[in-house]
Symmetry: C2
Subunit: 351 residues, 2 copies
């Protein structure tokens, strides 16, 4: 393998000094980019884009051609695992993901088996290999998966939801069955992420989009414990390098101490938590990633620079910060505003 030319992300996640704070953007390969929309139109539908390694590679590289980002992230979707389990994933315009065969009974859940990442999810590891080759060591590649709880919500609800009525009813009425579902998802995600590492992913991230809708006790039981199990089962060394893992629970600001105690290298912080507070609370146990409000990118360049500076200053001096948005970039953002943000991060001098 070729030598990595930009190791800022990996150094920051190891809390080692860096010349500039590394920056990447959640959903940096996405609809706000006209070149992405063109590739997606060529693909026809979203799942074809995800499941065709050449196309997934193409859109993964698009933001790197525009902006001097410090990492690439595999273009894929968190719902590839349940799709590979046979639930039939479709993306409905304006509605988000929909499963044709959501889980409706204990017997369906007990029949689930972890997909083989080298067979049912081969298109993902093929994409990882192709992207690594194309990156040619310029920046590290981040692999990712959804958290078991987050995957379970979609699998049981059948799609997006505001109330999480079905999955929470399951949690309160039949916790054993929910445990069974989460267990098979822990195995699935662990194998899937390890396969991404084998294929070339140099860092990993687990997206827990919906842990924040739980009670404190529910979060620990249904979302955090499964993620801890995954972290314990991941390959953390590959090609002679540490493979760091980042956990990100949207709305998890009240539970940072617990997230930092999982054994993860980094913790993603959404914009509702001040980074200075977060750092004070987790100490030097983990690196922190975040946390600009994605809506700041609607503002004019001067205001974007001001808000970027506030985020960098709130983290303060010393190692262990990966700059990012606090959640995914919105689709109507002007790409030039992303350029301003990246430049503001890289040109920042801490006081």
């Amino acid at each position: 393998m070729v030598e990595l030319q930009n190791d800022r992300l990996l150094r920051a996640l190891a809390r080692q000094p860096v010349d500039r704070t590394p920056v990447w953007v959640m959903r940096q390969a996405g609809r706000y980019l006209p070149e992405y929309r063109a590739t997606r139109a060529r693909a026809g539908d979203f799942m074809t884009l995800c499941s065709t390694p050449e196309l997934a590679c193409e859109v993964t590289l698009q933001p790197l051609a525009r902006f001097p980002l410090d990492a690439a992230i595999l273009f894929s979707d968190i719902l590839t695992i349940p799709d590979a389990m046979g639930l039939g994933l479709r993306f409905v315009e304006g509605e988000g993901p929909v499963f044709e065969r959501p889980l409706t009974s204990r017997s369906e859940i007990l029949k689930l088996a972890p997909p083989d990442p080298d067979i049912e999810l081969r298109y993902v590891t093929d994409a990882v290999r192709l992207i690594r080759k194309e990156l040619a060591g310029s920046v590290p590649l981040i692999g990712f998966a959804g958290s078991p709880w987050t995957l379970a919500t979609y699998m049981v609800e059948g799609g997006s939801t505001r109330e999480f009525a079905k999955i929470k009813a399951l949690a309160y009425t039949d916790p054993g069955t929910l445990h069974a579902l989460l267990d098979v998802l822990v195995k699935s995600v662990t194998r899937y992420l390890n396969a991404q590492v084998e294929a070339g992913a140099q860092a990993l991230m687990i997206f827990d989009s919906w842990g924040g809708v739980l009670t404190p006790a529910g979060y620990k039981r249904w979302s955090l414990d499964p993620m801890r199990e995954i972290v314990a089962g991941l390959k953390r060394e590959h090609e002679g390098h540490r493979v760091p893992v980042i956990l990100f629970t949207k709305g998890g600001g009240q539970w940072l101490e617990d997230i930092a105690a999982t054994g993860a290298d980094g913790v993603g912080i959404d914009w509702t938590t001040d980074l200075a507070d977060a750092r004070r609370r987790v100490g030097d146990r983990v690196a922190l990633q975040g946390n600009l409000d994605p809506s700041v990118l609607y503002a004019e360049p001067d205001e974007i620079r001001t808000e970027v500076r506030k985020v960098l200053d709130s983290f303060g001096p010393g190692p262990g910060h990966v700059f990012n948005l606090g959640h995914g970039i919105h689709q109507h953002i002007d790409p030039d505003h992303v350029a301003v943000m990246v430049d503001a991060v890289h040109s920042h001098q801490s006081d």
Copy 2:
């Protein structure tokens, strides 16, 4: 005025001892009740139900006929104020509230004036008077309004949103205009709540449904400061009694200390914060209201009793707790499960 027979709510909000923890339910008059659905069907549409005092009174009293609740809450909607300002409120099935004329420019915002609660919102104060008469002192009546930030989000977005793109773009690109909007809403909400007090509301609640989508600095500036101004402008004494005010920011668990410092009597807590932690953080400055996860009501009676006990025990002994859900009741809840919850609260003996 007749003597109040059940003053548990008012005593708990004043952090005075009570024989049993008072309980009421956010959206206790709502779609989960068949009698509500019948009245709503008779009304034709939701706004007719809100704006016809006899019908609003009827549905306000329905849950009290079923359950031994310790308070009534005016049946209305948080969006009556912007509707009275001329934005044209409609409720679209499955989509929620929609404004026919959302705010799209600074000049539209500068033209807004606080509605006169005795004219444009007369139907609300009429409903309050009628409900007070019908309650005949059995339990206190809670009046309410939406927070300025929450109202502003709907007025600028034009309806429900997940990204809050327009209102946040306004906050970052033209903060002066957002301030102007919030200023007129502070005046409007203050007058509206004071008119409810004059008409007979014995406690007040401000619902800040969307403060939790802001950054810590944004929350203080755009959501909390306007609420603090309102609290300072409210009549806190009427008919010789204290009129307590409760602030509830959904997703505000990280900012409880700040909310408790506004001068409010009570703070609503959603289910993502442990009540024991909340109490430790706010001390004896305010009463706390909450915080059962509304999804617990999908469970069987035994499990509901267990979870109710956990909430009561997490608050612990001593005065200052009003039991409630952590957010509004879901529409598919079995009313018998609400009966179990209310009974579990009232029969609880703290250790």
